[in-house]
């Protein structure tokens, strides 16, 4: 098993490889450069690991939520590579990946922050532009087999940070939300952007557990446009 992970839902262009145990990642921060830099980054990662594209057995893409244009670049790249290589493509919510990163010591890729408690809730809040954040709440607990597990408590959503309840904002928070709105998210933890290696490993675990991982973009917002009927009604 050799899985390629691709995520472009945050300011990072994140790629990674996982065989289920070992992972490798590469990252480039460029919120406007996804279309330019993603393919070369994948090429360099594979070359650096001595892997040819034909050896990949599956591809997993981050499905957002994230700024639309960047998000689509990663998703279409993964979908097209999967088709060209004849391997399956799976999707994982990008906020899930950040929540896992916040928990996992060895993949600390962000600034130092408060170490996450082994029990309790964690918030992920990322930049949704337009003064909003994409967010989701997770609970850290023990799975039946005793391993640490992360349970999503909410569906991903998009809101103005000030409109989120105070007890939610007080939670340890991963992602760029706390960087953009430090007063509103007072407890930053761990990672700022998605790590492609963690994404690839989550994909490997999901496959092992037979999880359904649909490749549906999480836009959460309708396109900005009024139909001619709506325009007429608003007049």
């Amino acid at each position: 098993m050799l899985i390629l992970g691709i995520d472009t839902a945050t300011s990072a262009i994140a790629v990674g490889l996982s065989d289920g145990e070992r992972t490798a990642s590469a990252l480039r921060i460029d919120p406007k450069g996804h279309a330019e830099h993603l393919a070369p980054l994948v090429g360099d990662l594979l070359a650096g690991e001595g892997v040819s594209p034909g050896e990949l057995t599956a591809i997993v893409v981050g499905t957002g939520p994230g700024p639309f244009t960047g998000l689509r670049v990663g998703m279409v790249t993964g979908l097209t590579m999967g088709h060209a290589l004849g391997v399956p493509v799976h999707g994982i919510c990008s906020l899930d990946v950040l929540a896992h990163q916040a928990l996992c010591d060895e993949c600390e890729s962000g600034r130092p922050g408060h170490r996450l408690r082994t029990h309790g809730d964690v918030l992920v809040a990322t930049d949704a532009r337009r003064k909003e954040v994409y967010w989701a709440r997770y609970r850290v607990g023990a799975a039946p087999d005793g391993r640490q597990a992360l349970l999503p408590l909410t569906q991903p959503a998009v809101d103005r940070p000030a409109e989120l309840p105070a007890d939610l904002r007080e939670l340890p928070t991963a992602g760029r939300g706390p960087v953009l709105y430090p007063d509103l998210f007072p407890h930053p933890v761990g990672p700022l952007d998605v790590d492609g290696g963690v994404l690839a490993r989550l994909g490997a675990l999901g496959l092992r557990d037979g999880r359904d991982m649909p490749v549906e973009p999480l836009y959460l917002r309708r396109p900005d446009a009024l139909t001619t009927a709506e325009r007429g009604a608003g007049r």
Binding site: E36, T69, R72, V76, L79
Partner: protein
């Protein structure tokens, strides 16, 4: 063309059509399109975000369909070409990212090409090699340009373009005034057939000083305004609007200017071939008047069939194949999508 000619897949996502074409050398094998035009109709125009979402959904299925139609596998490809600009930024990026993913996965060269040069090159798969030089009149919803094309793979020169609305845009806006659905070009074309050219609407940039300063440029916004005013006055007076006559008269004004300047450009640049491309090239009156005026001027006219005039993937594949045949260097995998790529930059 022999079977060892390069097999090239082309991707086009600059606006609202997801196009994938496959060409072997100068032979068209597949031209598949998924259009989101119906989704835009209720907004009265192309909504970029709606187009981009549709591209993401349609991209891989359209590639699959093209391969099936052509009877080839992706592994048979010798190169991939993609529209890298100009166009809607977010829409372009879907195609560019997909093309890069193909090139990377298959280990084949990538060519990022100019949308407008592709509109010219597509005629190669319809009517054979392009005479060099060719004069090209490109008229679509986003562009109205007169180009002198010595070599479509790397030498395209702009003689003029619209200084305001594109020709197709004028068709769409006037159609709206006449209460026709979007896109309005085909509706005006149809309505005009039963109308008379009874109204004298203005021909922009065709007289006196303008013919010096803007010799090969176009302007259609004054025409659009004149039509709107005329219709509004008519409605205000309580008289019925003669839709067919307005359509015919408007269309005549556009087509008159386009063909007059195109033939003049041929004559002044000593070019014996005129090629028309872009969505408006589907217009029946434009085809008829261009044929008449070219015949009178001794210019050979080439217009691809309507399906190849509107945005499609075949045109990108056609240009990509020329790039391979002429030994042009491939693009870098880091090539950007450039929404305002100048018409003179054929490859990025």
């Amino acid at each position: 063309m022999s079977s060892d000619a390069p097999l090239v897949l082309g991707i086009e996502t600059s606006c609202d059509e997801t196009g994938v074409g496959i060409v072997r050398g100068e032979t068209l094998l597949a031209d598949e399109i998924a259009s989101s035009v119906d989704e835009h109709a209720r907004f009265g125009g192309v909504v970029p975000e709606v187009a981009s979402r549709a591209h993401l959904e349609a991209m891989v299925p359209t590639i699959e369909r093209a391969c099936r139609t052509a009877g080839v596998g992706l592994r048979d490809l010798d190169a991939v070409a993609v529209t890298s600009g100009p166009g809607l930024a977010g829409a372009l990026m879907v195609g560019v990212a997909s093309a890069k993913a193909l090139a990377l996965s298959l280990g084949v060269p990538l060519y990022g090409v100019n949308h407008l040069a592709s509109h010219v090159a597509v005629d190669i798969v319809e009517h054979g090699p392009l005479p060099e030089p060719t004069l090209a009149l490109l008229v679509s919803g986003g562009h109205s340009s007169l180009l002198l094309v010595p070599d479509v793979t790397h030498d395209v020169r702009s003689l003029g373009s619209t200084i305001d609305d594109a020709a197709g845009e004028a068709f769409d806006k006037v159609a709206r005034v006449l209460g026709m659905p979007f896109p309005g070009g085909p509706h005006i074309d149809r309505a005009a057939r039963s109308g008379e050219v009874a109204l004298d609407f203005p021909r922009g940039l065709t007289t006196g000083r303008d013919m010096q300063r803007y010799r090969f440029d176009f302007s259609f916004s004054g025409l659009k305004t004149a039509v709107s005013r005329w219709v509004a006055a008519r409605e205000a007076s309580g008289e019925p609007v003669p839709v067919a006559d307005v359509a015919a008269s408007f269309q005549e004004a556009v087509v008159d200017v386009l063909t007059r300047k195109a033939v003049l450009a041929c004559r002044e640049h000593g070019v014996g071939h005129l090629q028309i491309g872009g969505g408006v090239a589907a217009n029946s009156r434009l085809r008829a008047m261009a044929a008449e005026r070219c015949a009178a001027a001794g210019v050979e006219l080439r217009v691809p069939r309507p399906g190849l005039c509107t945005d499609n993937g075949a045109m990108v594949a056609a240009l990509g194949a020329q790039m391979v045949l002429r030994g042009r260097t491939a693009s870098d995998l880091s090539l950007p999508a450039d929404s305002s790529l100048p018409v003179t930059v054929v490859q990025s």
